[in-house]
Symmetry: C2
Subunit: 335 residues, 2 copies
Amino acid sequence: MSTIYDVAREAGVSIGTVSYVLNGRGRISPETIERVRQAVDKLNYQPRQAAKALAQGHTNSIALVAPAKIYDYQMGLSKVIDAIGGVLAQTDYRLLIHLTLDRPDAWRELEEPVRGRQMDGVILMHVAMQDPRVELLQQAEMPFVMIGRTADTGDIPYVDADIEACAQLAVDYLYRQGYQRISMIGETGEAAITNRLLQGFCGALKSAGLPCPPNAIINVSGSPEEARKAARAVLQQDDRPNGIFALSDSTVLGVYSAAHDLNLSIPRDLAVLGYADSPLYPHLIPPVSAVFGSMAEMGEEAAELLLLKFDNDTSIKDQVLIPPAIVERESTCPA
Amino acid sequence: MSTIYDVAREAGVSIGTVSYVLNGRGRISPETIERVRQAVDKLNYQPRQAAKALAQGHTNSIALVAPAKIYDYQMGLSKVIDAIGGVLAQTDYRLLIHLTLDRPDAWRELEEPVRGRQMDGVILMHVAMQDPRVELLQQAEMPFVMIGRTADTGDIPYVDADIEACAQLAVDYLYRQGYQRISMIGETGEAAITNRLLQGFCGALKSAGLPCPPNAIINVSGSPEEARKAARAVLQQDDRPNGIFALSDSTVLGVYSAAHDLNLSIPRDLAVLGYADSPLYPHLIPPVSAVFGSMAEMGEEAAELLLLKFDNDTSIKDQVLIPPAIVERESTCPA
DNA sequence: TTATATTGGTTAAGCGCTTAATCAACTTCA
DNA sequence: TGAAGTTGATTAAGCGCTTAACCAATATAA
C-alpha cells in the first residue's frame, strides 16, 4: 500500500501539500492540485483511516447499535438504516453497525470500541434505558441518541414513537371499527413502557365511555410461540376479546397462529392490529393493519440530533416523539 | 480521556512497560503488573484504537458485508452473525457490520473503509460474484471470504450451501411425498446459480425416471408480490404444479398468498418447500418445511477460513460446500 | 574470580497522517 | 522605492500507541 509520502514524491511536493489537496483545505494552486490528483490516481492511494483518526482525534464514523434478535429486524432496522444513511450521506460520516447478540454480557463487546473511540457517536436502537450500555456511553462521554425508547429522565436524548398516542389511536380505531373488547399482547420490556401503553389504552376507553379493564395488557416474551399461547388462553375465555393490539410482528405471528388454532377468522371473529412498520405485515394472510410512528422519520431525527451534538449545540431539543399513524389493511375489517 | 502516558506516570513506569502489561507480552514482574493494572483501573484507561491500529498495522476487526434488503435478514443473517461471533470470541477480533442499501453505487461506501484498512478482512454475504465489491477487495488485497455464493473461478474463497444438492434433495423429497409436478420459484440472481439449481432439479427427476420439464424454474425478483403473481400464473395452468420449491422466505410468502388467492389448501392441494433457514418458517400457517445448508455452519467455516488467511496459510481449502438437510414441517404433508 | 545468562525493565524510532507556524516569492500600494 | 499584503507552498510537531534494541542489575556457570 502506498502512503502519503509516495504520493508526495510522485507529485514532487511535500506531504503537507498532499494532505491539503486531499482534504480540500489550504491554499494550493490548480496546477499542483492536478499533479497531486494524478499521483493519487496513479498510485491508487487512499489514506489509512487509523492514521487519519489518530491525527484528527476523531473517526468520522457513527455506530448503530441494535439487538441481533431476528424479529426485531422486522421492526424496521432496514428503514432506520436507510434513513440514517440518507442523512449521513450529506456529511462525511460513515455508518457502522454493531448487532448485539442475545447473550448475557454481550453488551461488553461494545466497551472496547466505545471507550477506544472507534466511533464518534452512537445510535442505540431498541435498547432498554436500564441497559448497561447506556451507562457505558455516558461514562465514556460518547455522544449518543436512543431510538425506540422513551426516557423518563431528562438527560437522555431519544427519538421514539409516541407510544401512548399509539395505544390510544389503536384502541380508538378498533373501537370505531366495532371491536369493543380489546386486549394488548406483546413484550413491553419495561414498566415505563407498560404504563405509557396503559395510559393511552385506558384514555381511549374512557373517552368512549368504557371502563378500563384489569389485565388490559398481556406481557409475553418476544417469541411468537409465547404470544401464541397467551393469545390462545385469552381467546378461550368467556368474554374473549374481539380485537387484539399486537405489540410486534412476532406477536402478530403468534396471534395469527392462535386464531387459526381456535378456528377464529380474522378479521370476522377477531381483529388484529399490529404495531410498528414491519415489512412482513403486507404479506401475511390476511395482510395486517398496523399503527406506528415512522421508522424512517425516527432514523432521520436521530441522525440529525447526533450530528448536532457533535457541534455541541446545546440548544437542541433532545427528546423527539413521532406521532403515530394507521395503515389499514385487511386484518381489521375496514368498515 | 487518559492516555498511556497518564497510566505510566501514575504507575511510575515507562509507557513501554504499560504497553507490555496491557498486551501480556515482554518480561514484567508481577508487582509491576499489579501496579500498572491499578493505575489503569484508577484512570479508567482504554487504549485508543486508532493509535493501536496505526502502530500495529492492523485493526483486529473484520467486517461482515451484507445487503440491507429486509427479507434477506430472514435468510439467516442473525444465525451467521451468531456463528461468526462465536468463532471470533475465541480470538481478539471484533466484528463490524456493513449493511449495504439497495441503491445504485451503494457499494462505493465500502471503498473508503476497505482501501483505508478499517478492517483486516471481510466476509461478503449474499453478494454476487460479479459485484464490484469483489474486485474492490481483490485490488485492495484485502482478505475476504464469501458466504452464500458459489464461485465458478477457482481463486475466490467461499462457503455456500451445496445448492445443486439442495435442489436435488428438494425434488427428491417432494417426489417421495407424492408430489409429482414440481416447480421452482425464486430469485436466482445469477445464471450460474440457475444452472446449478437446474442440474440438481433435473438430476433428481431423471433418477426418478421423469423428464426434465422446460421452465422448471421461474425467476422473479425478491419481492413477495412478484412471487405471488408468478405463482398465481403457474397455479392457474392446466397441468399446474402440486409442489413448489420456493427459493427464499419472501418467495414463500408470495406463494402462500397465491395459494390463498386460488383457494388452494397447503399442503393438501399444494406442497410448499422453502429454502434457507428462515426464522419465519415455523410461524407461518401452515409452518413451512424447508431445505437448506446450515447458516451457522457457513458462518463458522467462513470465519475460520478468514482467520487462516490472516496467517497466510495457503494450504487451506478455499471452497466449502455445506451439505443440505430437510426440516419437515406442515407445508409438505409428512406421509 | 570472571565471563555469561537471565531478569526486568527503559529508550527511542516509527506507524501515516493533520495542521499551526513559517517562509520565500510575488503583488500591490503609498 | 520600500512597506505591507497575498499566494503557494514547506516544515515540523504531534496524535497515542507498539516493539526492536538496548541496558543495568542480579543470578549462574566455568
